[in-house]
Amino acid sequence: MTADALLQVRDLEVDFSTSQGTVNAVAGVAFDVRAGECVAVVGESGSGKTQVLMACLGLLAANGSAQGSVTFAGRELIGAGEQALNTVRGTGIGLLSQDPLSALTPHLRIETLLTEGLLDRGLASRTEARERALRALRDVEIPDPESRLRQYPHELSGGMRQRVALAVALMCSPRLLFADEPTTALDVSVQARVLELLARVRDRGLGVLIVTHDLGVVAGLADRVVVMYAGRIVETATTADLLAMPRHPYTAALLAAVPRLHGAAQARLVGIPGDPPQPAERPPGCAFAARCDFADEHCAQRRPELQQDPYRVAAVACHRPLRAGTEHA
């Protein structure tokens, strides 16, 4: 199964050196993304999910360092030089970031933004690039693409900016798309359209790696989900299994926190009490133990390893995983 993985992440560690010493942001992360598959990395702010993407692209902050292995189409990216990385960025892996206004250079016209990747790499002539830009805008359903090419990012609405940013990310025909919280800044109806476009990208055979905190966003789009907490993977499963039967109490709590349109409109939502531990203050045991309803003393002392589920394509890192149909006492 791993033979045809487009992206293979193994034992990924990310550390940041700060004035208070080395802080570990990501530890022991491993997963695959295959062509035509969408994998979602889910977690709260500070879980390290974005740092995983940045480490893959060699875009960590100057004080950050990554160990372990990330291979894209068989090529090792961790420790690769800038030149080698630049042959992968854009052309191999496209990046769609959370905030489209800061992702699109404000003083460049949409045409320049779309074509500069192709022109700088000498992949197309100017007229050819313009043709492809028009096609890319049509693909993301931008009306009247000819006149849009002459506009600047600030002249577009938020939803249109994010679609232009998606077109930019896909201009150099990457085989893999990274989407970092692509819909967080958008309102629901625009969000639905962007998700639909991402589903279409996946159906065209690209691998899609999406990072989000919202399991609702994951539901229709992702084939598999990787749940991260405090820098580690706590659960992985197919989307259907994970949403129907979460094993890790953290996954179950995240799921319960999503406000619903169906079912009883109970007055109280189920929030997760407290905050995730700061990277420097993580306990020796399970990092979620302090917020977990099911934790005992054992949990706080010994860290649970990620255990493969014998019956499903799934793994969970928990001493006391939830079981289907049985309520924990």
């Binding site: 109806s189 919202d214 609702g216």
Partner: protein, 281 residues
């Protein structure tokens, strides 16, 4: 909820912005941000206002707060027409209604600790308070939003997004307003934190009979928090009613579209929606 007069009533409010552009002799272009909008919130009631970006939700909030003047219509506070140009009225009104904005980092002064931020609001709204009593009230306001005494000395950059939003809520509620306007107050937060803040707003509203004007694009959040809902589309109220009516049997296609766009962690439901969206386009 005992009195028949609603705490806040907006009657036929209209807001027209004059846009720049066009030639020197060309008539100025205008944009109707709100057209004939009427809403009412009873004492202790919670009204959700939903709509897409650009539907006029925030403009409505600003009209109520007096940050934008309506070109037509009027706002009634406890049955009396509000004169937003009268300084005395405005002082009383600011004590009566407060606001929480979307961006928790942007709405707090980075040079002020959480305690100072709350204290400033207390001084401004409740007048001079003896410093011992003020410290007690600041501590009480912070603890009511779930922040312990240690947080009073922290600066915004030392707080998470959810904690910042709690400080913003403490600052808005320290002088016990009767109406809290929340303009996308939970939209920028993680779902787990969002749930905490929604619960907090619900508790504060129940405990102090504080009314809420809750502006959001997320209908699922509104369903959990608000008893009444108004749906705005291009500056007009297209549908208004109780929670059960709006979510149970929406009458207008626009409301149905908004409902259909809410992502839910139910794979079958989401796949069906994406498929339906595909047929449409």
């Amino acid at each position: 909820m005992s009195s028949a007069t609603p705490l806040l009533r907006v009657e036929h409010a209209g807001v027209r912005y004059v846009l720049r552009g066009g030639g020197f002799f060309a008539p100025p272009r205008t944009l109707d941000a709100l057209t004939d909008v009427s809403i009412a919130i009873p004492e202790g009631g919670r009204l959700g206002v939903v709509g897409e970006s650009g539907s006029g939700k925030s403009t409505l909030a600003r009209v109520v707060l007096g940050l934008v003047r309506a070109n037509s219509g009027r706002v009634l506070w406890e049955g009396h027409v509000v004169d937003y140009d009268d300084a005395g009225t405005m002082r009383a009104l600011r004590r009566g209604m407060q606001v929480v904005f979307q961006d928790p980092f942007g709405s707090l002064d980075p040079r002020m600790t959480a305690g100072q931020a709350v204290g400033e609001a207390l001084q401004a709204l409740a007048g001079p308070v003896p410093s011992v009593a003020a410290q007690d009230r600041i501590r009480a306001a912070l603890s009511e939003v779930g922040l312990g005494a240690a947080f009073a000395n922290r600066y915004p950059h030392e707080l998470s997004g959810g904690q910042c939003q709690r400080v913003a809520i403490a600052r808005a509620t320290v002088a016990r307003p009767r109406l809290l306007v929340c303009d996308e107050a939970v939209s920028a937060l993680d779902v787990s934190v969002q749930a905490q803040i929604v619960n907090l707003l619900h508790e504060l509203s129940e405990r102090h009979q504080m009314s809420l004007l809750f502006i959001s694009h997320n209908l699922a959040v509104v369903r959990h928090l608000c008893e009444d809902v108004a749906v705005l589309c291009q500056g007009r109220v297209v549908e208004q009613g109780s929670r059960d009516a709006i979510f149970g049997s929406p009458q207008v296609q626009y409301t149905r579209d908004l409902l259909a766009a809410v992502p839910e962690p139910d794979p079958a439901l989401q796949r069906a929606r994406i498929a339906a969206a595909r047929v449409q386009t």
